[in-house]
């Protein structure tokens, strides 16, 4: 079957099997390999993308279900050559190590800040609780999102103090 959807603002069309998962359509057909696959069971969240502005786990969405809808992936976070605040926050606050969960975390973090520009630590933890990171222990991800929130609010004064000299 043929599907057409909007991916990161551009129209994308593909001839696919009806059973093809969105994550594989993005990765194998569109070469958007920033969206990762980690578990098949919607537990790890490495495959999180936006479907019409809402984070979804693309390993449990059929590509056919996304036809006619708007998909946004990590490749679509950077605008006009400038990184999004959450991308910069993750770099500034060591919110990633191996980088495998990072695209999904970034998409969730961006969605959180869009609806709640100054989330509490607990709200950030709840927002990312559907996603697994095996490297960071989450604290630096929380700081990264806080950094981005402060950056966008214009209240960021200095780098988040992580206790390191």
């Amino acid at each position: 079957m043929q599907v057409t959807m909007t991916v990161n603002g551009a129209e994308a069309t593909g001839e696919i099997e009806a059973r093809l998962l969105l994550v594989h359509f993005l990765r194998d057909h569109l070469s958007l390999t920033g969206t990762h696959w980690g578990c098949d069971t919607s537990n790890c969240g490495a495959c999180a993308v936006w479907l019409d502005g809402e984070p979804v786990k693309s390993c449990t969405v059929l590509a056919a279900m996304a036809a006619g809808h708007e998909v946004r992936t990590v490749e679509g976070l950077e605008r006009f050559g400038e990184l999004d605040a959450v991308q910069r926050g993750f770099m500034e606050c060591h919110g990633l190590q191996c980088g495998f969960c990072t695209p999904g975390m970034l998409m969730t973090a961006r969605a959180l800040l869009d609806r709640n520009p100054s989330p509490s630590e607990q709200e950030i933890r709840e927002a990312i609780s559907g996603q697994t990171c095996r490297c960071t222990g989450y604290a630096t991800i929380v700081r990264s999102v806080q950094w981005a929130a402060a950056e966008e609010a214009g209240t960021r004064t200095s780098i988040v103090d992580d206790g390191a000299p």
Partner: protein, 811 residues
């Protein structure tokens, strides 16, 4: 100046040798980190853009996809395999069974611990999930479809699941492939002094015995394992992209196993989505991908799904430990004794140095000054997945630290002593280092009391105890758990430690280009540890070139010198040392060239981190960049010095390094639901000289999360038929952001005396130190119930049973 004939370029005049910078043990929290301290990571710009290049991201023209058919039962004889329907599938290019591999002599492969493992089963299947056949097809969906078309007939055999009865004479023999094998015995091992330990126990006022289980867990990196094999039949070259933590060791093993000439094998380990020990072994899927590429003439990709990763690749732990600790009435620990029953699964796939079948479990004497210690270990085969890798620890140290730290707490319970006081009374003293333990390990340095007191200070331990007293008076359950760990990381030395005959030592190569930019090539391989940053900082510190001007190349055997890879916290401690020494070699040569440029004796030159100047005249100087251009230019070089500014070393560590730390965990237990919450966690680590504090902190956070996960929820479980009950992330639970607190970290600095900058490695410290801290905290919370021990995982149901006075081992 006349150009001299060629001579070795590594001669260094005595006076110009690097100053003896070997640090002595001291604690100095103001000591500056090496390099440029907290530096943002060089690898992050690609990862935050989704531009990392992980294995499954790689697409090659004409690439085919491989899927493995796995055994649905744990133990059974293969009666027949009919692949004809799969072969007839229109998108299928190749189906291979064990019998077909056997014809090529490839049905079995050696494991890293001297056993053999089936690539594809020929006679029997020995664990659920074992590889039985593979399909190669045009796409990954078709390959999976075709697996369903392969018809395998099994004669079901009784599964050996219970490790405690695996040696009973009536138990079926799993490894009847081994000539003369008549039981499920894998190996026996002992360490320490049995008689001296018995004598010490006889002298003791108090002996506490405690059985404890460290359940089978799985490293579960977020990226599963996979490989892409691309064999070129014309030139006979094989390029293998694979998720490996040890690309060079794998290359040599492929050469030895498959008979391919080693110079024709190129192993590339691209960006790796976490390893934690899971990506140390060679898995059947890698070998199958190679075979498939050779047979089809096309590149072939194999990637696991999550269930395959959890059910068939290397697990960790799975020790049943009977522990005993002997002490005087006033709390002086005299001796420790243990016997361990180790479940090694169907094949002994332990990744540990050859002389150490029990890994580095010998450090079970912990951080204490004992009179004697003794350990016996019996390992058995069961119908479970093979493995026995270290899950973020150096070869079984996590099990050892858990044993001793639980025993010390059990002793404190028995003596009604405070666990901090008991530890302070028994910790090794700084003046005892280097300290040879009763099992023969030479601890390099430590200042344990200072480290523990720092954790006590950060946690406000006394305040916590007061709070606990108040809460207990109100019937609330709060626990404070302490652990102190000593790790042994950074294997070799090579004369004592090898993997299948390959000595555990690491190469490094440094090239400084004419414009003063540098490329460091290292044998270790990052799985997220940030080597591209840390190693650039190490080189920057030594030769004064900014980290931004230093590229670190790793993970490609054609591009890097030989070395054993990244696991057991080896990278900074072994490859990091190699990076220091190769930088100093370059600097020594630069000094000779500088002397020619400045027309002055090398003894009159002063190194000023980036330039050499004449003693007493800082204006008369040349920078490392100017020296580099000169080295490749047309100007005169000193007699006997070749052009160019490059060097290579192969570093053989003279000893392991021994990172250590003190952890304090605070938990609240809900008595109504038996759910516990980790409210606070204080970790004070001493990993010697620190390089990038931001990266160190990140490594510590990761390991602490492991500890909470293992203590609370992680376990690979089996039913009585050997069916794996933990084959997905719905069943094998990993901590999310909601189960872990905001970590509180601190540090002390006691450099390693033998590492060239005193660094010890930190990647696994917290995984080693945190599980006993969490369990000790939960047991402390349950003290009002008189409970001394309950085994991990402390799930609400298991904790509920413990509270009701019926704690059961998980296996």
């Amino acid at each position: 100046m006349r150009r001299a004939p060629k001579a070795p370029d590594h001669r260094v005049p005595e006076a110009a040798s690097a100053p003896d910078s070997r640090p002595t043990a001291f604690v100095d929290n103001d000591r500056k980190p090496v390099g440029h301290g907290r530096m943002l990571r060089k690898e992050d710009p690609r990862f935050v853009r989704g531009k990392g290049r992980f294995l499954d991201d790689i697409q090659l023209p004409g690439m085919l996809h491989l899927a493995l058919l796995r055994a649905p039962i744990a133990h059974g004889r293969i009666l027949s395999v009919d692949a004809s329907a799969a072969e007839a599938h229109p998108k299928v290019k190749l189906v291979v069974t064990g019998a077909m591999l056997a014809e090529r002599g490839l049905a079995w492969m050696p494991t890293m611990s001297g056993d053999v493992q089936a690539v594809l089963a020929t006679d029997k299947v020995r664990f659920q999930g074992q590889e039985v056949a593979f399909v190669v097809a045009e796409d990954r969906y078709a390959a999976r479809d075709a697996l369903e078309l392969i018809d395998v007939e099994y004669e079901r055999l009784p599964a050996v699941v219970n490790v405690r009865t695996a040696l009973d004479p009536s138990t079926p023999v799993i490894r009847d492939d081994l000539p003369g094998k008549s039981d499920n015995h894998c190996f026996d091992w002992e360490t320490g002094d049995k008689a001296a330990t018995e004598a010490a126990f006889a002298r003791a006022d108090v002996v506490v015995s405690q059985d404890m289980v460290y359940p089978r867990v799985h490293p579960a990196p977020l990226e599963t394992c996979g490989a892409i094999a691309d064999y070129d039949a014309v030139d006979g070259g094989l390029t293998l992209w694979s998720t490996t933590q040890a690309p060079h060791a794998h290359r040599t093993l492929y050469a030895l196993v498959a008979g391919l000439p080693e110079h024709q094998i190129r192993v590339i380990s691209p960006d790796i989505g976490g390893g934690f020990g899971n990506k140390v072994p060679i898995y059947p899927g890698y070998v199958c991908a190679i075979v498939a590429s050779m047979l089809t003439g096309k590149p072939v990709k194999w990637t696991e799904d999550r269930s395959e990763n959890l059910t068939s690749t290397a697990f960790a732990r799975d020790y049943i430990m009977q522990g005993e600790i002997a002490a005087t009435r006033d709390g002086t620990i005299l001796a420790v004794r243990t016997s361990v029953l180790a479940d090694h699964g169907a094949f002994n796939g332990v990744a540990a140095p050859a002389k150490y079948p029990g890994g580095f479990f010998g450090v079970f004497t912990g951080s204490y000054d004992l009179q004697a210690a003794y350990c016996t270990m019996t390992a058995v085969y069961t119908n479970k997945a093979p493995g026995g890798v270290a899950y973020s620890c150096s070869f079984r140290i996590t099990e050892a630290v858990y044993l001793i730290e639980r025993l010390v707490d059990c002793l404190a319970f028995q003596l009604t002593m405070d666990p901090v006081e008991l530890r302070l009374a028994n910790l090794l003293k700084p003046e005892q280092f280097p300290y040879t333990t009763k099992t023969g390990w030479v601890y390099d340095s430590g200042n344990y009391e200072v480290t523990l007191r720092e954790a006590v200070r950060i946690a406000d331990y006394d305040g916590l105890r007061r709070e606990q007293k108040d809460k207990r008076a109100r019937g609330e359950l709060m626990g404070i758990g302490v652990s102190f760990f000593t790790e042994a990381v950074g294997a070799g030395p090579r004369k004592h430690m090898d993997i299948m005959g390959l000595g555990m030592a690491d190469g490094a190569e440094l090239r400084v280009y004419p414009t003063g930019k540098a490329v460091l090539r290292v044998s270790c391989q990052s799985q997220g540890q940030g080597h591209e940053t840390t190693f650039a900082q190490i080189v920057a510190e030594e030769i004064g070139i900014p980290p931004a001007d230093i590229k670190v190349v790793h993970g490609d055997t054609d591009q890097t010198p030989f070395g054993l890879g990244t696991y057991g916290s080896r990278s900074t401690s072994v490859s990091g040392a190699a990076a220091v020494l190769v930088s100093r070699k370059v600097r020594d040569k630069a000094r000779l060239i500088a002397s020619a440029m400045l027309e002055i004796s090398v003894t009159d030159l002063v190194w000023d981190k980036g330039s050499f100047h004449v003693v007493g005249d800082p204006t008369s100087c040349v920078t490392i960049q100017e020296i580099a251009m000169h080295a490749y230019g047309t100007g005169d070089l000193p007699d006997g010095v070749e052009g160019g500014l490059e060097a290579q070393v192969h570093y053989d560590p003279e000893n392991l390094t021994y990172p250590n730390g003190a952890y304090i965990c605070v938990v609240d237990v809900d008595a109504q639901t038996a759910v516990f919450t980790v409210r606070r966690f204080v970790a004070v680590d001493d990993c010697g000289t620190r390089i990038n504090p931001m990266i160190i902190e990140g490594q510590v956070h990761r390991g602490l999360t492991d500890g909470v996960g293992m203590a609370l929820m992680e376990m690979i479980a089996f039913d009585d038929d050997g069916n794996c009950l933990s084959g997905s992330l719905m069943d094998y639970l990993l901590p999310s952001a909601l189960e872990v607190p905001d970590w509180e970290t601190g540090y002390t600095v006691t450099p390693s005396p033998h590492h060239p900058v005193g660094a010890k490695g930190v990647g696994e410290s917290a995984t080693v130190g945190s599980p006993p801290a969490v369990v000790n905290a939960v047991m402390d919370a349950l003290k009002p119930y008189g409970i001394r021990h309950a085994d991990m995982p402390l799930t609400p149901s298991r904790l509920w049973e413990a509270i009701r006075g019926n704690p059961q081992p998980p296996i």
